[in-house]
Amino acid sequence: MFAQLISDIGSLWEKYGSVYLNGIANTLILATVSTLIGCVIGFFCGILQTIPCGPNENVIKRVLLKIVRIVIRAYVEIFRGTPMILQAVFIFYGLPYFFGVSFKDIWTVSIIVVSVNTGAYMAESVRGGIMSIDQGQFEGAKAIGMNHWQTMLYVILPQTLRNIMPQIGNNYIINVKDTSVMFIIGFSDFFAVHKMVSGAVFKYFPSAFMEMIGYLCLTLLASFLLRKLEKKLAGKPDYELVNTDQLVMTAGTYSYPSEAGSPFDEVSKDYKGEKK
């Protein structure tokens, strides 16, 4: 029984190996690119949704922000609440239907559909991630004069990214698998290869078996790499004291200003005088 399966797989691989590999490559490229774009969309929505808006702001800003929030809300609900396979059909066949524009390039449509879909999920993850950041981080940034964009870009989002890395990983793995629905508009991903090959040679199970193993390998590899990335984002577990920089005092000779004053009190006068 197993011997049969193995010989079937062997013959499939011999004949269609490169086609399968090409499908794997397409799946990986689509999933990776779309997840990255989806993250950008998600972060962008996250920043827009968290722009502070007190009752003292002017009316135009308040109305605009309200509209932005409604639009993002609608976007999230629609793309999270409908199957991606239908979204693909809608965009691929719907746009020519209404506007007469049609997509020549399957890649473009596929990337748009998967990115926008991922973005809808990411928008919520990012919003949750931003809300989980300690309020003090926002205040610390405001207190040194940063505006909302600077606060977000340099302080909040890097921490958010670190916190929602597991969710991004989730989305990536889901995308590796779920891009298989893009066969509906003719995208030749890993799963589409299965449909094509098994239709041609009538070896459904051996091909499906290969697909299963293939997808599992892809997602295992992805999990492994994501874990590595997560560790990297967490930063180095230890640090070195710096004693070699000429501007840095030797550690141990001076810990903090004593009752008698810091050795820098005098310097500080010079420093300030020098500047003026």
Binding site: I144, V242, V248, Y256, P257, S258
Partner: protein, 246 residues
């Protein structure tokens, strides 16, 4: 024009129907070290947060060199850059090293070139004795060290006034000293400071002016030697008696 750096006029703040600050008036001049003392819940921290515009005031004005900063959003960021703040809970950016914490504001808000920002950051980190730790992240150093870095971060912006919101309240007793020593050295450098504190010794010995607050109003203010030895108000007397325990 007056030489007051900060002038608080008729400042009131209410959270809903609960009035936290009622008609606060006082001024801060260059080189002043003003301590704000008072029981918990008397509105000290809220006052400081109002001054840094972290809370919106209900009524009143805050004049910075004679200019009202509560109206017109344009100069809010540049105002905050000139008024440094040190928080009770440090609020160091946890995604950055100690050095980056002291550089980011200079680079992004003041647009200081990287090399200058680094030099200035190192200068002030040296001043608070934290320069060897430039590569550490905030979660790798102790509370007292964090607060000293937070002070260096605020100083790196070279503000005209430095606000301290109970800078030692979240610290273990043994770390309080190192932070207070840094603050004392700033006072010797004639840094203008506004300090909300429970450290009565600091208020008495270091500050040039003491403000006692109770229930959202300034009950009494004046020279520390007068407030601590001969308070005029009954409430001040009772508060000091309770706190100093004699």
């Amino acid at each position: 024009m007056s030489d007051h750096i900060l002038e608080i006029r008729h400042l009131s703040k209410a959270f809903g129907s609960h009035a936290v600050l009622k008609d606060i008036d006082f001024t801060v001049d260059k080189g002043d070290v003003t301590s704000i003392i008072g029981a918990s819940g008397s509105g000290k921290s809220t006052l400081l947060r109002c001054i840094n515009l972290l809370e919106t005031l209900t009524t009143g004005e805050i004049l910075f060199h004679g200019q009202d900063v509560t109206k017109g959003k344009i100069n809010q960021s540049s105002y905050r850059a000139k008024v440094g703040m040190v928080f009770q809970s440090f609020n160091l950016f946890s995604n950055m090293t100690v050095l980056a914490n002291c550089m980011i504001g200079q680079q992004k808000v003041l647009k200081t070139p990287k090399e200058d920002a680094r030099n200035k950051a190192l200068y002030y980190l040296n001043k608070v004795g934290m320069a060897p730790y430039i590569n550490a992240r905030p979660d790798q150093i102790s509370g007292g060290q964090k607060q000293r870095v937070a002070i260096a971060r605020a100083l790196s912006m070279e503000p005209e006034v430095l606000l301290f919101d109970e800078p030692t309240s979240a610290l273990d007793p043994e770390m309080v000293g190192e932070v207070l020593d840094v603050m004392k050295s700033l006072a010797r450098d004639k840094m203008t400071m506004l300090v909300v504190t429970h450290e009565m010794a600091f208020a008495r010995d270091v500050s040039s002016h003491v403000v006692y607050m109770a229930d959202g109003v300034i009950e009494e203010e004046g020279d520390p030697s007068v407030i601590f030895t001969n308070p005029q108000s009954l409430r001040t007397r009772e508060f000091l008696k309770r706190i100093l325990g004699d």
